[in-house]
């Protein structure tokens, strides 16, 4: 079984050889005292003396760092076309990309911002200005991308969410969120503080380039609509799309092409 998986992996990566090269890196996280895997997808034109932009792609709940490549293989070709590095880190099965206030072993916001980004910038030829750094994700990763970008605007200039859980409060018993921030009964204040839709009350996100979308059959549609309405009422610029689709790979694999195009536009403005 294991051998077969390894072979498939080799095959997938091998078939991209002509347009890109893919590194699997182990990044040590000091804050969590463990090493975390990430894929780094570089266009075949990548050269050490020519720094290029970076897009970080976060996976969803219950998945891992391979999800984006498996569900949306077209990102390899598009990464080449937009001349950018794509970084696909592991975010744990259910971290929600938080620094957990009740579990000190979960430090994924710190990992992404303070450990992963500096590692990538030192190991690869990247443009280190935030205008050339974007972060996006699906589902839990959509929440993670917005949560991290909004709270770390000196690091990220653009953020995208694909059917993201942009408000976690309607889902107090789902996806082990209560193991990260406590139960909603015991720690109601955490659920107000850690949900993306509330961040925009206390943080000015008007300078951040925001894009998000959701499928019309998705269980996260209502929280995405609520986020769109709230941003409109606060006059905060953002791209928002609704389209046919459900919470699945077919939707993500389609949506990411538009979000990468959006990031390409942002990179080329600078």
């Amino acid at each position: 079984m294991m051998k077969k998986i390894a072979f498939c992996l080799l095959f997938i990566i091998g078939s991209f050889h002509a347009i890109a090269s893919i590194d699997t890196v182990l990044v040590y996280s000091k804050s969590m005292n463990k090493s975390i895997k990430a894929l780094v997808i570089k266009p075949d034109t990548y050269a050490k003396n020519n720094p290029i932009p970076v897009v970080y792609l976060l996976h969803g709940h219950g998945a891992n760092y391979m999800q984006w490549l498996n569900n949306a293989p077209s990102i390899v070709q598009q990464g080449k076309e937009m001349n950018s590095i794509l970084v696909l880190p592991d975010g744990g099965l259910n971290s929600w990309y938080f620094d957990s206030p009740i579990n000190s072993t979960v430090r994924y916001e710190s990992f992404i911002v303070k450990e992963l980004v500096p590692f990538i910038d030192s190991a690869y030829a990247t443009k280190t200005n935030k205008n050339f750094r974007a972060i996006a994700g699906l589902s839990m990763g959509g929440h993670g991308a917005f949560y991290i970008a909004m709270r770390n605007q000196s690091v990220f200039g653009s953020a995208g969410s694909i059917c993201g859980g942009l408000d976690i409060r309607p889902f107090p018993n789902n996806w082990q969120i209560n193991q990260l921030i406590g139960s909603i009964q015991e720690f109601p204040e955490n659920w107000e503080k850690y949900t993306v839709i509330n961040l925009i009350d206390s943080i000015d996100v008007s300078k951040l380039n925001l894009i998000f979308d959701c499928g019309l059959s998705d269980f996260f549609l209502n929280v995405n609509r609520a986020m769109h309405q709230k941003l409109l009422s606060k006059k905060i610029p953002h791209d928002y799309t609704e389209r046919p689709g459900n919470h699945n790979a077919a939707y993500w694999g389609n949506s990411i092409n538009y979000q990468l195009l959006y990031f390409q536009h942002q990179f080329s403005k600078n």
Binding site: E81, L216, L232, D239, T241, R243, P244, N257, Y258, H265
Partner: protein, 273 residues
């Protein structure tokens, strides 16, 4: 010096392989005159391949040359997506209607029937609805939806950017009254030919639809209305709201997303040789 010559050579090779543009006068049998049209062919046009076509319509008081002059990078998009782009003239304010009061305006017939026939006969197209889409800006967004729905046997994709999608309420300033006549006498046309109402008749052919609008645009309410109505009628469509106004800065951005959408549609529907 050698290096310079070599670079120059590369430059010309590159130039030669970029998209090419024909500006032609296409005969309209229904209007007994010719209509100017810009035809953009991708860089590999001479390689013996056949290409899908996006018909791209201009806005009120515009012309066939608007798109190529204001958004020259659509040539690059034709190359990137290996598609043809055809921009017909819409006679400033035809609204892409066959006017019930002026027989010299038959623009639904021209754009929906005569033009695709001519393009298929004279260019190396994939002559199939699965490889044809129509979209445009403002009045042309209206045209994209109006013609897309009424000629779904010809087009499998239709779109609108900042579309003036409800002509029923555009009673002055944009010459709709010159095409549809008195709002009382011709009330039926004013009502039935609004894109917002045209969608009530769902075509038997499948239609892929993409609609977008800028949040600062005056036509935003019409776009929200058609989005809501399509949701209610269960008409699948992509719908985007993004920052922007009714201007070329918006359209030069929006067109990239629309053509990506149609490229995906063509790739899905047409087997690649």
């Amino acid at each position: 010096m050698k290096q310079v010559v070599f670079s120059l050579f590369l430059f010309f090779v590159f130039r030669l392989s970029a998209a090419t543009i024909d500006t032609i006068a296409i005969p309209s049998a229904s209007m007994h005159r010719t209509i100017k049209t810009v035809v953009i062919k991708p860089n590999t046009y001479t390689d013996g391949k056949q290409f899908p076509v996006v018909y791209l319509l201009h806005g009120a008081f515009g012309s066939y040359s608007n798109w190529i002059l204001k958004v020259p990078h659509i040539k690059q998009l034709a190359d990137d997506f290996q598609m043809m782009i055809v921009c017909p003239d819409g006679a400033r304010t035809s609204w892409y209607f066959d006017s019930p009061i002026d027989s010299s305006f038959k623009f639904e017939t021209f754009v929906g029937t005569e033009l695709p026939k001519y393009i298929d006969a004279n260019y190396k197209t994939i002559a199939n609805r699965k490889a044809r889409a129509i979209t445009g800006l403002s009045m042309g967004g209206h045209g994209g939806i109006f013609i897309g729905f009424r000629h779904a046997d010809t087009f499998s994709g239709c779109g609108s950017m900042s579309g003036a999608l409800h002509v029923t309420v555009i009673t002055r300033g944009y010459e709709v009254e010159k095409r549809l006549g008195d709002t009382g006498v011709n009330k039926q046309y004013w009502n039935d030919w609004s894109a917002l109402n045209v969608i009530e008749k769902k075509p038997s052919d499948s239609l892929s639809i993409i609609i977008d609008c800028g949040t600062e645009d005056r036509v935003m309410p019409m776009n929200r209305a058609i989005h809501e109505k399509m949701l209610k009628l269960n008409i699948a469509h992509d719908y985007t709201e993004r920052p922007g106004n009714h201007d070329w800065r918006y359209w030069e951005n929006a067109i990239d997303f629309q053509l990506m959408y149609f490229n995906k549609l063509f790739k899905k529907q047409v087997a690649q040789p």
